[in-house]
Amino acid sequence: MRLVIKHYPYRYRDYSYLAAQAAEAARAQGKFWEYFDLMMHEKKLSRDDLIGYARQLNLDVERFSSELDSETHRPRVEADVDLARKLDFYQTPTFVINGRALVGGRPIEKFRELIDAALAESKGGGG
């Protein structure tokens, strides 16, 4: 099983594009998940906050800040946004489990149901 995260920064929020790019800048240094979890936990997302998290995780802060300021990772974030629009997804969070979409924070049972169904299907298909 594989978990893939796609960015969907809300277009009218001050920091959401910045935060998505910061997560990518952390990925470039191999710490996407640690960075993602820290951001979700702290919730503050200004440039200074984002650089502060990079420092906390012992990332190369100079490289991180320069990638953030020069928007090095913006194309990757925009590609995710384009993909979401193509699939007609506009809400966060949206989960897609083997092609079936779950919009919003759903009860855990619903995830179990879809994951079990996907597992059963993949067994049935001989994969």
Binding site: Y10, D88, Y90, Q91, V103, G104, P107
Partner: protein, 354 residues
């Protein structure tokens, strides 16, 4: 088991499963759902386009279908409904199946027609957040919409025509072919023996559910306090609090640490925390349950009623601990699942003008 006696389609003898003093009481079953009047197809088509159109929201991301998802019995599967981006809601989304039969809308009954109801979400700051007059202006600039309006209503976009068409579309969202419906129409074999046992519990003295879940819709459309507990996050989270207290202010009430339910409309202390009895068709598909989605499954709902409901000074006197055994609980759940049938599989049309 012997088949149940079916008397004139409505009365059922319940001698079979029970003995004792109550056993001889005949079971009162509802009339079958009547067929709703045919809606004008052009209006339904326009209503469907509007229902799926994200341009009905301030930021162009929220349509009715975002919260009333066609594949999920037109509910949204979340405890607390989704909301306008960056905001939080405070109530659970109702299913829209069979809303065409209702006279009283929303958990607190604050609307009395589908046309009136549909204005609520468009205008609401935490749902679609669009000034309806601005919506009319937007739609008038989209030639394809103009055509649809002329065909359906004989003239261009107006607020009234938008609401009429949404309502016409919603009236087509009907379920009336569930095994229970077929049974009411006289197909004795439509329900399994276990479902029939559940039906007896539901309408008979063992469960007494039919006191409130009465009539063809399985709702008296009245308000009852069951003592459903508040969700802690609705009390602690500032965004949920904002929405609740804003809503209360709009209703002319001071901030409160709870959902007042029907009290917000009637102002009688007795109905603080009372909610409209929900209709139950397709209920297996619209988990989680209750006005705040706090019960996750049908078996949790049955446990809840078996305990005699929750805790509340205003709790309905109609609720008593039932003492159902495992067998009876199972049967009741099987009966609730027999309320599922088929409903129109509507898809989003291509958005007019896009």
């Amino acid at each position: 088991m012997r088949p149940l006696l079916h008397l004139s389609g409505l009365l059922l003898s319940c001698l079979l499963l029970q003995s004792g003093p109550l056993a001889a009481q005949p079971l009162q079953l509802p009339e079958p759902l009547e067929v709703l009047p045919q809606q004008d197809p052009a209006k339904v088509e326009l209503g469907r386009a509007l229902f799926f159109d994200r341009r009905l929201s301030g930021d162009g991301t929220v349509s009715c279908a975002v919260c009333h998802i066609p594949d999920e019995a037109f509910a949204d599967g979340q405890k607390i409904s989704g909301a306008y981006p960056t905001n939080k809601h405070w109530r659970h989304t109702n299913s829209l199946l069979n809303v065409g039969y209702l006279d009283v809308f929303f958990w607190d009954g604050r609307s009395r027609s589908l046309e009136d109801q549909a204005l609520g979400p468009i205008h609401s700051s935490f749902e679609m957040n669009l000034n309806p007059r601005f919506l009319v202006a937007k739609l008038r600039e989209i030639p394809e919409y103009q055509e649809l309006f002329v065909k359906a209503c004989g003239g261009g976009a107006t607020q009234e025509r938008i609401l009429d068409s949404l309502a016409a579309f919603e009236r087509t969202l009907v379920v009336n072919d569930s095994p229970f419906d077929r049974y009411l129409r006289g197909e004795d074999e439509a329900l399994s023996a276990q479902a029939k046992q559940g039906l007896e519990i539901f309408f008979g003295p063992r469960g007494n559910c039919g006191q409130c879940h009465s009539g063809p819709l399985l709702s008296d459309q009245k308000f009852h306090n069951l003592g459903v507990a508040e969700l802690p996050e609705l009390i602690s989270d500032p965004q949920h609090r904002t929405t609740r207290n804003f809503f209360l202010g709009e209703m002319g009430l001071p901030p409160m640490e709870r959902d007042p339910g029907y009290y917000a409309i009637s102002r009688r202390e007795k109905v603080l925390g009372a909610f409209r009895t929900p209709p139950l068709r397709q209920v297996e598909q619209s988990a989680p349950y209750m006005h705040n989605g706090s019960l996750g499954s049908l078996s949790e709902v049955i446990e809840f009623f078996n305990r005699g409901g929750g805790e509340d000074p205003n709790k309905s006197k109609l609720l008593k601990p039932l003492g159902l055994n495992e067998d009876e609980k199972q049967a009741l759940e099987v009966f609730l699942r027999s309320l599922s049938g088929s409903y129109p599989q509507v898809r989003a049309p291509r958005p007019p003008g896009l």
